[in-house]
């Protein structure tokens, strides 16, 4: 990967090794496959949307960073 940025790479990548352990898993949510992030305090957030339907990427309910509850996941 080539970083082309005015921010030095040391600053961009600082703290990359001591991050809190988050788990990623795949689930189905509102008819689409998503990758969910699970934080240590059991919060669930959409990390990525895995879909080939372009319109889903504009759906406000499927945006990365949105919190989801475990019961809605399949």
């Amino acid at each position: 990967m080539i970083l082309y940025s005015i921010v030095p790479a040391e600053i961009v990548f600082s703290g990359a090794d001591d991050q809190p352990q988050v788990k990623y898993f795949e689930a189905e949510y509102r008819g689409e496959k998503i990758i969910v992030t699970e934080t240590p305090d059991r919060q669930y957030k959409i990390s990525r949307l895995l879909s080939t339907r372009p319109s889903s990427f504009l759906d406000p309910l499927l945006q990365p960073g949105r919190a989801v509850s475990k019961s809605d996941l399949k």
Binding site: Y4, P54, L61
Partner: protein, 256 residues
């Protein structure tokens, strides 16, 4: 219980429900803005979509959380959706970025450049490094007077082997940026390269910092302006597009 009382109670309950629904809609909208900096604006002059490119452009490696990032794997399908959605007529690209992954930045820039819908960009604060090709990828670009653009060579990071091939490789990588920028703006390849390698401008690097007006003088950006200028230009382009579409339909009718 008298009928009137029941009715008034029911009405109150229903109005509370609609209020609640409206409130949750509002929070959804706000969430969308805070999480993604993205929203749709619609009015009779045209239905536009606003995409903000902020912080680092995140590429193939997830950056540590202290970085604010724009994730290319989400932006690219969004651009596809914007292009194919019949209701969206134009794209406003707002940039305030410090640069990032070359491949991801160029991918987004190429996607925007090859879109058929009218698009206008506005650089606020900074459009540095890989932000430069993204800023010039639209039909028309604006820069705020106080905004800056830093143009510098691609730096080496990670393990570097001191052989001539390393230099050649980086020269090639740099050439992709130079080519894209010169193709999509008024600046020539030589001039852009000169700005990249200029000395005496940056404290610890070669390169140039361009202020709003300088960027326009070098023909990198079309015009100095703000939000209203960018919006007006976008609506103007949308109007042109609508007219040319109407013309095609009209002439097509004559042929038959």
């Amino acid at each position: 219980m008298p009928k009137d009382e029941i009715r008034s109670k029911l009405e109150r309950l229903m109005s509370a429900q609609t209020e609640q629904a409206e409130q949750s809609k509002e929070t959804d909208r706000i969430n969308e803005i805070t999480e993604l900096g993205r929203m749709t604006v619609s009015n009779p002059r045209g239905n536009i979509h606003c995409l903000t490119i902020i912080g680092q452009i995140e590429g193939h490696i997830i950056l540590p959380p202290q970085n604010k990032t724009t994730k290319y794997e989400h932006v690219i399908p969004q651009l596809v959706a914007i292009e194919e959605n019949t209701e969206i007529e134009g794209l406003l690209l707002i940039l305030n970025t410090v640069g990032g992954d070359v491949e991801a930045g160029l991918a987004i820039a190429e996607m925007i450049a090859s879109m058929d819908k009218p698009k206008v960009s506005l650089v606020l604060g900074g459009g540095h490094s890989i932000g430069v090709p993204m800023a010039v990828s639209t039909d028309y670009s604006f820069i705020a007077p106080s905004a800056t653009m830093t143009i510098h060579p691609i730096r080496l990071n990670g393990l570097v082997i001191g052989v001539p091939q390393t230099y050649e490789y980086f020269d090639k990588m740099q050439e992709r940026v130079v080519q894209f920028v010169s193709k999509n703006s008024g600046i020539s390849k030589d001039e852009f390269r000169k700005l990249m390698l200029k000395t005496g401008e940056l404290a610890n690097d070669v390169g140039t910092v361009l202020f709003g007006e300088d960027a326009v003088r070098y023909k990198l950006i079309n015009e100095v302006g703000g939000l209203s200028d960018a919006m007006n230009k976008l609506y103007e382009l949308i109007e042109q597009k609508r007219k040319s579409k109407a013309n095609i339909i009209a002439t097509g009718g004559e042929l038959q």
